[in-house]
């Protein structure tokens, strides 16, 4: 219960900002907060609250798995790497061969989500494969 008190502000903020399927569970002295945020800004806001309650995420007592609501396949996504190209791979994993590249800030088509980390994308040139989701920003 002490952990729920420590992170109460976070749970309250998640409730207030419309996070769906919110689950708050405590197991072996770690608090697990799962849910689906309506948008990326909400997720960022919750992470800022987390960072405030546990500076630099040092305590090792919270796993916050907040996804952003599943985007419809066919949506366009922008390649948001820092400056480099984004590798497109044959399968979902960095051990998979590279089958193509998407340029920095190129717009690609989201085919499907393999999981939260790996999305299947297609470029306008017709290259298709898996890219790391962190570097893709879905265009609304």
């Amino acid at each position: 219960m002490a952990l729920q008190d420590k992170y109460r502000e976070l749970v309250d903020a998640a409730k207030a900002s419309g996070v769906n399927n919110l689950q708050v569970r405590e197991q072996d002295n770690v608090l697990y907060i799962d849910g689906e945020a309506p948008n990326g800004a909400t997720k960022d806001k919750l992470w800022d609250v987390y960072g405030k309650l546990d500076p630099d995420y040092r305590a090792g007592d919270l796993i916050m798995n907040i996804n952003v609501a599943t985007h419809v396949p066919g949506a366009k996504a922008k390649v948001t790497t820092e400056k480099s190209n984004l590798n497109i791979r044959k399968g979902p994993g960095t051990d998979q061969p590279i089958v193509g590249k998407a340029a920095h800030h190129e717009i690609v088509t989201l085919v499907s989500k393999m999981n939260d980390q790996w999305w299947l994308i297609r470029t306008d040139k017709g290259e298709e494969g898996y890219a790391y989701a962190q570097y893709l920003t879905v265009e609304n």
Binding site: D28, W47, G60, I63, N65, N67, G93
Partner: protein, 161 residues
């Protein structure tokens, strides 16, 4: 005749109102007896002719029995009808699913690939981070690692500004 019947009505009214007041006094006493126990906050009582009917909902059989005992202990209560329902206990939430180490190892390797200073070790679901990272990258990395279903994350990274 009119006078007599008026008198009779008056007597009946005053008799019942007197009796009613008594029931309501008893009801108030039972209410305060129930309020004294926080486990009984979901209960209500009504008293008629000295019979206290308690209803509402509590969390356990023990609390239901306590409510009855409390009501019986109030002066003026002749008997108690215990209509309190005991709520079914809330189901335990599903346990947290932790990724197996093999899966975690692969996904953690993917997640830290673009942070050359960061090293990670996975053991029994615990991801231990060592090395160093730029402050501006920390939240991004943690967001990613938190989505991989680890048991916990030990952040021993040195943070560079």
């Amino acid at each position: 005749m009119l006078l007599i019947s008026s008198l009779a009505v008056f007597l009946v009214v005053s008799y019942t109102s007197c009796k009613g007041a008594k029931d309501s006094d008893v009801q108030a006493s039972v209410e305060s007896a129930l309020r004294a126990n926080p486990d009984l906050s979901g209960t209500v009582v009504s008293v008629k002719d000295g019979v206290a009917t308690i209803s509402g909902e509590v969390k356990s059989d023990a609390a239901k029995a306590q409510a009855e005992t409390a009501a019986k202990g109030v002066k003026g209560v002749k008997s108690v009808v215990n209509n309190i329902a005991v709520a079914a206990p809330a189901p335990d939430p599903a346990p947290v699913v932790i990724s197996p180490d093999e899966t975690l190892n692969r996904s953690v390797t993917d997640a830290i690939k673009d942070y050359p200073g960061v090293k990670a070790e996975v053991k029994d679901g615990v991801v231990t981070l060592t090395g160093d990272i730029k402050r501006s990258d920390l939240q991004k990395l943690m967001m990613n690692l938190n989505s991989l279903k680890p048991k916990k994350i030990e952040n021993k990274l040195t943070i560079k500004s």
